[in-house]
């Protein structure tokens, strides 16, 4: 998928959850949303992007959420 599109989608999710004062919980909620609704190949793609890209364009809260909480079971999805 177009990574810019994925970044935009992730930031939109962040826009919703960042209204909550508990930022640690917001990060978990963002990660939970990505895990429950994004296919593993999409999560893998954004994880790879975050790992490889210095300036991701992701909102800091979203970036932290992805780094700290988003996982994909297998190293690379089959996609």
């Amino acid at each position: 998928m177009n990574i810019e599109h994925l970044v935009k989608m992730a930031n939109q999710i962040g826009d919703f959850f960042r209204s909550y004062p508990d930022h640690e919980q917001a990060k978990k909620d963002i990660a939970s949303h990505l895990t429950r609704f994004w296919a593993p190949q999409m999560r893998q793609q954004i994880l790879d992007y975050v790992a490889e890209t210095p300036d991701t364009g992701l909102h800091p809260l979203v970036l932290s959420a992805i780094r700290e909480y988003v996982k994909v079971k297998s190293a690379k999805s089959e996609a």
Partner: protein, 949 residues
């Protein structure tokens, strides 16, 4: 053929008092307020009548239903006289017989005596009454003035008006007023010159008539008659089934001659429609036998090749071999399926089962993705269940009705009529819509507040209303404390109370005067039962899910949930949006909205289906398309959906379809998506299959097969054949067995079966041990999730911004006569009302651009360009234009973008920045489309020619 019983007058609304009376010596006990006529029918006694029918309030004009009441003077009309304790009524006396014969003699003296050749022969109440009163002669000749030469009005494509047969009973006029609420008909003239007229118009087609058919159903003679009955004669049997159009889910009697539908008549016992209908369900069913139907399977290697007709075995075998080949080459996740809200519950259930069990992934989605997926998400988060909370009938107990981003009189017309009935009784109306929909101002309906917001600012508006409720002390604190999570309320109320969320602060974004927002919020919170009805104008935004949560917040904060008259009511666009979501069509959840990662649920389905199941969410429709363009998603099974027309950014969709190695389309017609297909599996219409649809009020209604499938198989059977060819047999013998499996595996459906549906007519889920007859109102004592949860709804402006290049906002919608992509309605006479999509533009914007009404205009967005004819209208506000997407060549979705809801990827159809200019030719996309479409039709015709040879 059994006729529906007619009690003459509606049932009494009194529920707490009974009276006993005697009619013709029979004792009967009925509710107080019942008419003598109604009570008589309940006692098995038929009183002659002409102007009375039980769908209409009593009128008392025909004087045929007179009775004698002991101890009372005169001959009261039994339709307008209520029962009373101890009454002794006589319906047949020599004097009454005399009066009735005299009345009938006068009627017949001005009525053609052509009964034998009349289209109503055998179904004419005038004929029946002549027999009932024993009319043997008419002493008045035809030499005097009469109406026998009155002209017929055949302008309406579906019914004719033969004034020579009219007895001026006013049933049609009253039906138009009371049942439909359009007030298009009237009685013009006085005395002998009285006649039914379509308002001030020359004929029905040009008038304000919406062709709902209520007048035709009410007419006791052949005056208003369906043209199909005139052509084919009276039906000989009927089958009750469920309409396949919008989310109202009307129950119909398919009146048949053998396997030919003669007419569709709304069923009085229908729980959703109570005997009413709209132009689509009532009349626009001819597509089922349209010449464009493809009934033989076809395959081809490439979309440049001609189609080849093949046997079902060959088509299924080829499709399965392609799916296997692609999975072997590109991986398990390289294929997926899309099911449709036009399919039955049983069909959508099977498609998701096919994907999860036979494909071995979760790449299944449904067209609810592009309409109400935010409803599923938002209501689950706040209330705990992805469904509306009420019955349609609940609106009759509402004191305040708020309609947000919905156009019920066009999109859900039968419910729209019911809502108008309640409004005429005095309920208050708040409308939040960028456009002036019919409900804003119509006959005897006037919105108290029309909050004409800018597209894309719903969340700002709902949060501003919440601000008023919280800061002005209008919260129902008792409800919130007992029913909701207090912590979530406290945080939410602090959030909405902030000054930046006040109506005054939000006015800059919404364009709605703060005073109106405040007044509307006060009305909503304080004027009794308040209900919210919303549609795609809420969901199809980048903040669609946020807005759904905002609506739930407002309902909870004001205590408007959990009883009749209140609630959160998503008006579902298509017939089975609710059902297709219930059936696990989304890639992240099993039937009953249970996430695929839930081990216990997955174990349940693994045990039942005998296959290991993936615990990761699959691809949504937009994701499938993106991955197709990337090259990793290679094959799609698409049942009953036309993504090449209905989904946003058409060029992106067709690029994705062109990138796939195998597209399998199962449909009635060679639709826009099928033009990119390699396998075409003929589908069948709702008239040719068994199953169930679930409407917007969670009502599961039976779909009954009234004719043999023209393609040879019901749609669920096609899916089962494909599954078997993939090595995963689905040995169902009947759709009822699929529902039995659904019921076994889904707690909210445990009590549902075809047998139970036969007994009850329809069932609103949850239906299980706790609710054996279903659940009309949800969240009565507690929310499904236990305590209701308030969610913070920060307004985030859409990234689809206007600028100097794209200064206008395009918003899209639907109209009454067409349905969704128009595949069905375009193949009916409904095109008489909407032959093309047009773009509405405000006079100021039109003048600025030198655009006249009817000019061709180019509409350009960041996604594409198309050309439509301009209609200058003050329905839209300056800066906003509006169009529909019912015709493929109009390319409405060529302009819409990939922008989507943050939670669900539901496209933001309602906000696209555009510019409009006068043009003289079609857009490049339209010219390319026409060329491609012509090529594809030619490739399909080559199949016809090969068959002839």
């Amino acid at each position: 053929m059994d006729k529906q019983a007619d009690y003459g007058t509606p049932a009494s609304r009194v529920t707490d008092r009974q009276v006993t009376l005697e009619i013709d010596g029979k004792s009967i006990t009925v509710a107080a307020g019942t008419s003598i006529m109604h009570a008589a029918v309940e006692a098995g006694i038929s009183i002659p009548k002409l102007c009375a029918t039980d769908s209409l309030e009593p009128f008392g004009s025909c004087r045929l239903c007179l009775v004698e009441v002991e101890g009372r003077r005169g001959y009261p009309a039994s339709c307008t006289t209520p029962v009373d304790e101890g009454l002794k009524v006589h319906t047949q006396t020599p004097k009454l017989a005399d009066i009735r014969r005299g009345v009938m003699e006068l009627y017949i003296s001005d009525h053609p005596l052509d009964c034998l050749t009349c289209s109503a022969n055998g179904d004419c109440e005038l004929q029946d009454m002549a027999g009932a009163v024993g009319l043997r002669e008419v002493r008045y000749g035809y030499d005097g003035s009469n109406h026998l030469d009155a002209e017929k009005d055949v302008s309406n494509p579906y019914f004719q008006f033969d004034a020579s047969k009219c007895i001026v009973c006013s049933r049609c006029v009253r039906a138009c007023e009371e049942t439909q609420g359009t007030f298009a008909l009237t009685i013009s003239g006085r005395g002998f010159d009285s006649k039914v007229a379509a308002g001030n118009f020359d004929n029905f087609l040009e008038s304000e008539c919406v062709s709902c058919g209520a007048c035709v159903a009410a007419c006791p003679t052949a005056t208003l008659m369906e043209k199909t009955v005139i052509d084919h004669g009276q039906p000989e049997h009927s089958v009750i089934t469920t309409c396949a159009y919008c989310g109202v889910g009307c129950s119909f009697r398919a009146e048949m001659k053998g396997e030919q539908v003669v007419r569709m008549v709304p069923d009085k016992n229908g729980g959703a429609n109570h005997g009413h209908s709209c132009v689509k369900g009532r009349f626009a069913w001819g597509y089922a036998t349209h010449r464009d139907r493809i009934t033989t399977p076809m395959i081809r290697k490439s979309i440049k090749d001609p189609w080849q007709e093949v046997s079902w075995e060959e088509a299924i075998s080829y499709a399965a071999s392609e799916l296997k080949r692609i999975q072997a080459k590109h991986g398990r996740n390289s294929i997926g399926a899309i099911t449709s809200s036009r399919c039955t519950n049983e069909e959508t259930y099977l498609v998701q089962k096919l994907v999860r069990a036979a494909f071995g992934n979760n790449n299944v989605d449904t067209c609810a993705r592009v309409c109400h997926s935010p409803t599923g998400y938002g209501l689950k988060q706040t209330l705990g269940e992805s469904a509306g909370t009420q019955t349609f009938d609940s609106v009759m107990k509402s004191d305040v009705i708020m309609v947000i981003g919905a156009n019920p009189t066009d999109g859900h017309p039968v419910f729209g009529s019911q809502m108008k009935r309640r409004l005429r009784e005095g309920a208050k109306l708040i409308i939040a819509d960028p456009r002036e929909i019919d409900l804003v101002s119509g006959p005897h309906v006037q919105a108290d507040y029309h909050l004409k917001l800018r597209p894309g600012t719903n969340v700002a508006l709902i949060t501003a209303m919440a601000h008023v409720v919280v800061t002005e002390g209008l919260v129902d604190e008792e409800f919130v404390r007992s029913r909701c999570e207090w912590d979530s309320f406290e945080y939410w109320s602090e959030f909405v109370a902030q000054p930046e969320h006040s109506p005054e602060a939000m006015q800059a974004a919404t364009g709605v005067p703060a005073a109106d927002v405040r007044a509307a919020a006060r009305l909503f919170a304080t004027d009794g039962n308040a209900a919210i009805y919303y549609g795609l104008g809420v969901t199809e935004h980048s903040q669609g899910s946020t807005m759904v949560m905002g609506i739930a917040n407002l309902a909870m904060a004001t205590g408007n949930i959990g009883r009749e008259g209140v609630g959160v009511n998503p008006l579902r666009g298509q017939n089975n949006v609710q059902g297709s979501c219930d059936m696990g069509s989304f890639p992240h959840e099993f039937p009953g909205y249970r996430h695929v990662s839930d081990d216990a649920t997955r174990a349940l389905f693994e045990a039942a289906w005998g296959r290991p199941l993936d615990n990761e969410p699959g691809l949504r429709i937009p994701n499938m398309l993106d991955f197709a363009i990337d090259g990793s998603f290679k094959a799609l099974y698409c049942e009953g959906e036309d993504i090449a027309q209905s989904d946003p950014n058409t060029q992106h969709v067709t690029h994705a379809l062109s990138s796939m190695e195998c597209v399998i389309v199962q449909d009635l017609f060679l639709n826009e998506t099928a033009m990119y297909a390699h396998v075409f599996l003929p589908g069948c219409s709702f008239l040719e299959k068994s199953g169930t649809f679930t409407n917007a009020e969670r009502r599961i209604s039976p779909v009954r097969r009234v004719m043999t499938p023209k393609n040879g198989y019901e749609d669920w059977q096609v899916t089962a054949m494909l599954s078997e060819a993939l090595g995963y047999p689905m040995p169902y013998r009947h759709a009822s067995e699929i529902m039995d499996e659904i019921a076994r595996l889904t707690p909210t459906f445990h009590g549902v079966s075809f047998k139970r549906l036969e007994e009850l007519g329809s069932i609103q889920w949850p239906c299980n041990e706790q609710h054996p007859t279903g659940t009309p109102i949800m969240h009565v004592d507690e929310f499904v999730r236990g305590k209701g949860r308030f969610m913070v709804t920060e307004y985030v402006p859409t990234s689809e911004k206007v600028n100097a290049k794209y200064p206008l906002i395009l918003t899209t919608g639907r109209i009454l006569s067409q349905y969704n992509v128009g595949a069905q309605t375009r193949r009916t006479d409904n095109v008489a009302w909407h032959p093309e999509d047009q773009v509405e533009i405000h006079p100021h914007d039109a003048e600025d651009r030198g655009i006249q009404d009817g000019d061709w205009v180019g509409i350009t967005s960041r996604a594409g360009n198309t050309v439509q004819r301009a209609r200058i209208s003050e329905r839209v506000q300056p800066g906003v234009i509006y169009t529909t997407f019912h015709h493929p060549e109009s390319g409405a979705n060529v302009i819409t973008t990939d922008n989507s809801d943050w939670a669900t990827n539901c496209p933001e159809f309602k906000v696209t920045a555009v510019e409009v200019t006068r043009v003289t030719q079609l857009s490049e996309w339209q010219r390319n489309y026409q060329e491609f479409s012509d090529e594809q039709i030619a490739l399909a015709q080559q199949r016809d020619e090969a068959r002839v040879e």
